[in-house]
Amino acid sequence: MHKQYRKRFLMTSSAAISLIFIAMYIHITNGTFDMSIKDVVTTLLRINPNNDFDLVIFQFRLPRIVIAALVGLGLGIAGTVIQGITRNGLADPGILGINAGAGTSIVIFMFLFHMQLVASSSSNWLSILLMPLFGFVGGVIAAIIIYSFSWRNGKLDTQRLILTGIAISSGFGALSMYISLKMRESDFEMATVWMTGSIYNANWIFIVAMLPWLLILIPVIYKKAYLLDYLQLEEATIKSLGIEIEKEKSILLLCSIGVISACVAVSGSISFIGLMAPHIARQLVGIQHRYVIPTSAAVGMLLVIFSDYIAKTVFAPAEIPVGIIVAIIGVPYFLYLLVKSKA
């Protein structure tokens, strides 16, 4: 019985990894400055380094692809966990207001520290590293508000969770807007571009800033992945099995908030990935979370890399924030899920 799931998982993950490499390949070789695969490989392997190629790959394309991959990975995992905890397939970090909470506190951060549009100078190092932490605080505040409003009779009421999430989300959205209107012109531009979800000002420092969060929290989530299977039962049964349900839920939720905040800090609010990736993953590998989580991570990576490729090429040389592309794909998918879940 288990072998069958395992086989499906191994097949799916090898397919997903190949697709991710193909997407990365297309992304890295195409753009305003086309390169051949040979150029890319020789540059990466440092054979006959060429300054132009070095600049394009190491300063522009590679960090961007890495960030797209990491953000997709993080959001795919966090989305799976949030859907698992709430037992609601329409839950998503964006819908629950965690994105918005993290976003608002990062806007406040930008307001206070006057981030530059191109955060390339090394003087900004510390502030960039602090961004995910700020995002985390905002995400936790949003989560606490959502939690306390949806807490009824000593347990989490999923229906209320979604409703409060939507309210909190628009509340924080308005707050972000208000603060960004008070900003200096340069900060405002940075904030707006960032809020819609974009990664085109990608930078290695961003990667350094988000990596520790992912490296620490994702293993914790993965270690508890099997618990998400049990959390799909109803409360009395979970408790009867000897699972400390509220404690485990809180640990998983906090870890996801950390991951989401790190993603939001570098890429702004890219919604719908956390919604779509887990669904696609479940259709591919079934419902066991130890398979769903890595698959959802891979699907998330693929979606963001692919969307970002579209974002940079469709109106080239002008760029569209990747969040908009994801939303264009995501809105119909969300509606499709709604219709399907009603039937």
């Binding site: 099997y226 109803e234 009395a236 049964t237 408790k239 009867s240 099995l241 000897g242 400390e244 130890r290």
Partner: protein, 266 residues
């Protein structure tokens, strides 16, 4: 002399502002089937859930083999006591065997793979509940009766000496009701399982229980053998019904074969 396996002392439970029962004392004897009966809203399910630490009491203690349950870790309790809830839910795509294997949770160290002991207990649980035949099916494909047996198998896979069943026969047809209760009876007889259950059907309670706890409005009215509880005066007091009772010549259990309300007189 039968020893007490569970003892509730001055137990008070409620939801937010509403108290279901307060300062309740009761004991459950080891190796017996004890059934809690009473009208809707009398607190029988609440009592069962509090004993099974699904609901937290507001005050008072529950002792499991004379140990305060608050001082035992919930996982340790899960090795001794399993509860089958009133309306269990699982993802519809879940396979029967997998759901039953969830019952092994408190015993498992390695979450990735099942030990040979785990597999042995799961097979036993499927065997005794007669669910082996549809082990590979998804929950969605099962009838209500089959589902209930699968849930019972999951509770059995927990391998506990105490089983708490919250209205295990609700929504089942007559034959399935009996089948579930006969499995429970067999567990008690052959495996010395202590069973505490909540039932609506007083005839089933009388036929399958050693002891019946009759509750009304958050209080225990009386505790006794089926013959003591299925008596005109007790049923009048508990359910406000005028019951007609006889002894089933087949199994010697008291049966309420008809009843009327007292509403007009009072």
């Amino acid at each position: 002399m039968v020893s007490n396996i569970i003892r509730a002392q001055k137990l008070t439970t409620g939801y937010e502002k509403f108290t279901v029962f307060s300062d309740l004392n009761t004991t459950i004897k080891a190796g017996q089937i004890t059934t809690i009966i009473g009208p809707n809203g009398c607190g029988k399910s609440t009592l069962l859930k509090t004993i099974g630490r699904i609901l937290k009491q507001q005050s008072g203690e529950v002792f499991l083999q004379e140990q305060d349950m608050k001082l035992i870790s919930t996982k340790e309790i899960a090795k001794q006591l399993a509860l089958l809830s009133q309306n269990p839910e699982a993802p519809l795509q879940l396979k029967v065997e997998e759901l039953i294997s969830y019952g092994r949770f408190p015993h498992r160290k390695n979450v990735g793979t099942l030990s040979s002991k785990d597999i042995e207990v799961i097979e036993w649980a499927m065997d005794i509940t007669k669910t082996t035949a549809f082990r590979d099916r998804e929950i969605a494909q099962l009838s209500g009766g089959q589902r209930q047996k699968v849930w019972l198998a999951m509770a059995l896979a927990q391998e506990t000496s105490i089983l708490l069943l919250d209205e295990p026969t609700t929504y089942l047809d007559l034959a399935h009701q009996l089948e579930v209760l006969k499995i429970v009876e067999r567990l008690n007889k052959e495996h010395h399982c202590t069973v505490i259950m909540v039932l609506h059907d007083i005839n089933h309670a009388a036929r399958f229980s050693h002891e019946i706890i009759a509750m009304k409005e958050g209080e225990i009215v009386t505790v006794g053998s089926p013959k003591e509880i299925l008596a005109k005066d007790v049923l009048k007091q508990v359910f406000s019904i005028d019951a007609r009772i006889m002894i089933d010549p087949e199994n010697g259990a008291p049966v309420c074969f008809g009843y009327d309300t007292f509403l007009e007189q009072e």
